[in-house]
């Protein structure tokens, strides 16, 4: 073990200057991270923003091009083998065996993590019960529904009671009810002391994390508690509703004092700079009186739009 002590106390993951190239593409660009133990830490970002690559770098599946990674006291990627016992990893796509039953899959995972005797029996029984798989334990994994598969994948990832759980878009293939149940289970695990790193592109999920990192084209553009991120928005949110949203958006894009705009269904979310005294009035002047303009509570979507826009503007400058 080559622990430098950075991840011995409260900190489970410590990352400095992490970058990874794939040919000419910089998938992860100079990321710094400190992730506390016992918390749910979210990675929010669109597809291709580097979420999966970062997670794979953290568990030693990929080798970093640059930077230092320390996980639970182990230096990556050198100590990857020693770390494997203490982490659980849930891949983006279902990666258990479709032609084995739920119980057989768990038995196989138990063997692979060398669980023995009573402990092994107990863990398998516990996981079957906790993740509501008992009644269907003899069913083959290939015939399960999306929600059942996801519960099985989580059960397999936590069977050996890992200290750190890495979840790569775990809810991308399940319905909203299953997503809510899944998150309740994650909170149970976090309360029991497990550190959880979860990537998502759902705003409602991101909002439930203790702490959130927003990734955009490989860069870390925001990193704080969701509530603080929303409070610290660089402006106030105004919502515009009406017929000609596209025209309104164009007008807003050229106007002064507007940081960003984003379409959200039938509404236009507008971020107005703090310097503007009456944001609602300011926007109404630009889009015209026939539009319905109201001030709104900041959401994570606004944070996401604002932080990715800043990034783009910084690049254009």
């Amino acid at each position: 073990m080559t622990a430098s002590g950075k991840t011995n106390g409260d900190i489970a993951i410590h990352v400095r200057g992490l970058s990874r190239w794939f040919g000419n593409l910089k998938a992860v660009d100079d990321i710094d991270l400190d992730i506390q133990r016992g918390r749910i830490y979210g990675f929010l970002g669109p597809n291709g923003s580097g979420k999966s690559t970062t997670i794979r770098l953290l568990c030693g599946l990929l080798e970093p091009s640059e930077g230092a990674v320390e996980v639970l006291g182990y230096t990556m990627p050198g100590d990857a083998e020693a770390l494997r016992r203490r982490i659980g990893y849930m891949t983006q796509s279902f990666s258990l065996y479709a032609d084995l039953s739920i119980r057989e899959n768990l038995e196989f995972i138990a063997d692979v993590y060398t669980l023995r005797g009573d402990h092994r029996r107990q863990r398998i029984a516990d996981c079957l019960e906790r993740y509501e798989l008992e009644a269907i334990a003899r069913q083959r994994a290939g015939t399960l529904s999306g929600g059942q598969r996801q519960r099985l994948a989580l059960a397999a990832a936590v069977l050996h009671e890992p200290e750190l759980l890495l979840l790569d878009e775990p809810t991308s293939a399940v319905d909203p009810q299953n997503r809510r149940d899944f998150w309740d289970r994650l909170f149970e695990l976090a309360e029991a002391g497990t550190t959880i790193l979860v990537s998502t592109h759902y705003m409602d999920e991101a909002e439930r994390c203790h702490r959130l990192a927003i990734l955009d084209r490989g860069r870390l553009v925001a990193n704080d508690a969701p509530r603080s991120l929303m409070n610290d928005l660089p402006g106030k949110v105004v919502e515009v509703e009406g017929d000609k949203l596209r025209d309104a958006r164009q007008a807003l894009a050229q106007a002064a004092g507007i940081i960003s705009t984003a379409m959200l269904g039938t509404r236009l979310r507008v971020l107005v700079a703090h310097e503007v005294d009456d944001p609602q009035q300011h926007v109404r002047k630009i889009v015209g009186n026939e539009m319905n303009v109201e001030s709104a509570r900041p959401s994570l979507e606004d944070v996401f739009v604002a932080s990715t826009t800043e990034q783009q503007e910084a690049e254009h400058a």
Binding site: R56, G60, L61, T91, L96, F108, V112
Partner: protein, 361 residues
Amino acid sequence: MRDALLRFRGILFKEFKQLRRDRLTFGMIIGVPLLQILLFGYAIELDVRHLAAGVADQANTQVSRRYLRELEGSQVIDIIRAYPGPAALQQALDRGDINVGVFLPGDFEERRERGQPVGQLLVNGSDPTIEGIARQLSNAPLPGDSQPPSRLVTRTFYNPERRSEVQIVPGLIGVILNLTMVLFTAVAIVRERERGNLELLITTPVKTGELMLGKLVPYILIGLVQVTIILLVGKWLFEVPMRGSLVDLYLASGLFIAATLSLGLLISTLAKTQFQAMQLTVFTFLPAILLSGFMFPFEGMPKIAQWIAEVIPLTHFVRLVRGILLRAASLDSFALELSALTAFTLAMLLATRLRFHKRLD
């Protein structure tokens, strides 16, 4: 060590469970050897008979007619048509109407008296077996002559009836193992990669060696089952003798299976998809079947082909299995073959170990 054993056992059991459920693979384990041995045993008859033949008998004497009847009586040729002359015979050969043409010129009788060649044999040389067989016709004695005095009497050992099944079935054990074993392992690992299982496996404490062994052992057993099937069918249907020690035969087979499996493993680290794995398997299978001495005699090949053949496991196994089954040779006399197979296996495993990382990049 106990941990390693437990993980290895876990993979092994999982592999067996999956195999039991994979009906197609299971069918191939039994079906491929059965089909191949029936195909090779019955359809591939190297004693070619009843070749379509044309004749042009310009002499048309009593002796020449009798001579042609005797040629036909050998059952090697069936005379299907008479042609006016050698040119017509050649055209018929070109068209593919006949494989053999017999031309007897008008001065047949004079040539016979002078002891000169009495005629011409036109042979379709595009097929090696037809050519070889038809050439034997030129040795047929003329009517009225005494048997030409032979200076040597041939005695064929191990296969006195010169039945081709006896030569083919032992080698067929190797050919079938070579095909199925390489394919099964190559596909088995690539399939896990395609389905995403491997991404999960490499984040677990499983070691590369445990994974590789856990994948190989079930197929070694399957290979031995196939050997048994071919031996039993060979004995019952084709009366292939089993003169040597069965223990030696299974030991040699086990070593050969290990060699083919390790080749399959290496292929699995090179191929990205199951289709590529199959292509690579066929790519390695063709030289094996052509150069190993299974189909064509090793001694007849050019030096460079012989060198290549020495690297191919099937070459060594064909020698081993023919030696053990037909000549009752013991393993002691095959030190070279055994060490070649061992070296091949170790080299393949080493190459696989170097190529297989527990990483995705």
